[in-house]
Symmetry: C2
Subunit: 252 residues, 2 copies
């Protein structure tokens, strides 16, 4: 925010130069207020955030906040949520090269960093029953889930995923959310890398178990496993699972 | 309800016989209203249920409904939800004998029958953003999840479950919920037995994958697998997984 308040040394004036101390444009001001709101909603339950807090954090007056967000806190919350949703969608973007688990691992790192950064707001939103929860906020959250599922299906390289594979992917996404909430509740234990590795293990396990009953998932799992390496997540999981299941030869 | 309206042939009067046409006691009337509300809330979104509907379904007047539930629809909804929660808790009860997957299978059958019977209300409640959602309804739902987790930990026979095992169980419960919602959304496809078997496969897969990184879970998984038989869910899964993973020998 210093950018908008300190007066920089005047440069040689180009044609139509902006004033050295310039007012924020409508878009810039909106972005600044949203940014302040997002930070507040990230670290506090929505019922503990007031428009006064937003105005104070942005260094503006309360009426100015109302001018930009006449719907008050609810409107600010929903706008902040949409902005967070855009940020999350960027977390999922990942080039389609290399072993699947490494792509997922990088996306999970970004997702969990987002969860870490927005902990209180993330919990308040997903625990439900929040004062600002509406069908619109629910739709935004569902949109994020769909975007995540679409990305994973893209990486599984299945052009027309059937119901079982889609159900598996959506189920895993819910598991990631649930684990993130528990992780926040438990004071962010275990270390985030451990949580990420366990979520990756879960993905491999669910993919493999679903492959057992769905031919399309089986084909996708075979393609994915062929790209994995022994020192990657799938290799590590395979070697650690063997001692556990080796005693269960009576099942075969 | 015929019980309360038709006049049965008078039996030989025992001492202090009830009147042939007797009024419902306060508790009976309350139970009858709750029952009517639960049926309505099971098959309609809460915003589509009115006190008039409840009164009509119970064959009583609207003022009578208000006498029992002065808080109106919200109070009726919360009471119906608590009653449904009790019913669900009974679904989870299962003797601690035999293979774990068969115990889980029976509990899942009862749970999925409940989901099938309460489809619309179940979706409305868990999709969030509902008009009747409050911190109390959220707490009731969380209570059911905790009860389910406690039951599973009991069957895993781990007296002091650590964070990883608890997280695994809670994650699976969330996956069951998510899969149930998707199942309802997709017109109850696949057949409920197929969904149940897939959820069981997921449980075995998650338990095994978590066993790979958590000694306590590994011990529980070994104990559980020892009780499984080749023609049960774990045996079927093991035999179907082998062809998928057998091509991944490069990971070992």
């Amino acid at each position: 925010m210093t950018r908008t308040r300190t007066k920089p040394a005047a440069p040689p004036a180009p044609p139509a130069a902006p004033r050295a101390y310039r007012r924020l444009s409508v878009e810039e001001r909106r972005a600044q207020l949203l940014d302040a709101a997002l930070t507040l909603f990230a670290h506090h339950a929505p019922e503990d955030v007031s428009l006064d807090h937003v105005a104070e954090a942005a260094g503006v007056s309360r009426p100015l906040v109302y001018r930009y967000f006449p719907g008050g806190k609810q409107q600010l919350y929903e706008a902040a949520l949409r902005s967070a949703a855009d940020e999350l969608r960027h977390c999922f973007a990942e080039p389609q090269t290399g072993p699947l688990t490494l792509r997922l691992s990088r996306a999970l790192d970004r997702y969990l960093a987002f969860v870490d950064e927005h902990d209180t707001g993330f919990s308040a939103l997903l625990h439900g029953g929040s004062v600002v929860e509406t069908s619109r906020t629910t739709a935004t959250v569902d949109g994020i889930r769909r975007a995540a599922a679409d990305q994973i299906l893209l990486h599984l390289a299945v052009p027309e995923p059937g119901p079982r594979l889609r159900m598996m992917v959506r189920t895993w996404i819910t598991a990631v959310e649930a684990a993130s909430l528990i992780w926040i509740d438990e004071g962010k234990q275990p270390a985030v890398e451990e949580l990420r590795d366990w979520l990756l293990d879960q993905f491999i396990a669910l993919l493999t178990a679903t492959a057992a009953s769905d031919p399309q998932t089986a084909a996708a799992a075979r393609r994915a496993l062929a790209l994995e390496s022994g020192d990657g997540p799938a290799g590590r999981l395979a070697r650690r699972v063997i001692p556990v299941v080796s005693e269960a030869a009576h099942l075969l």
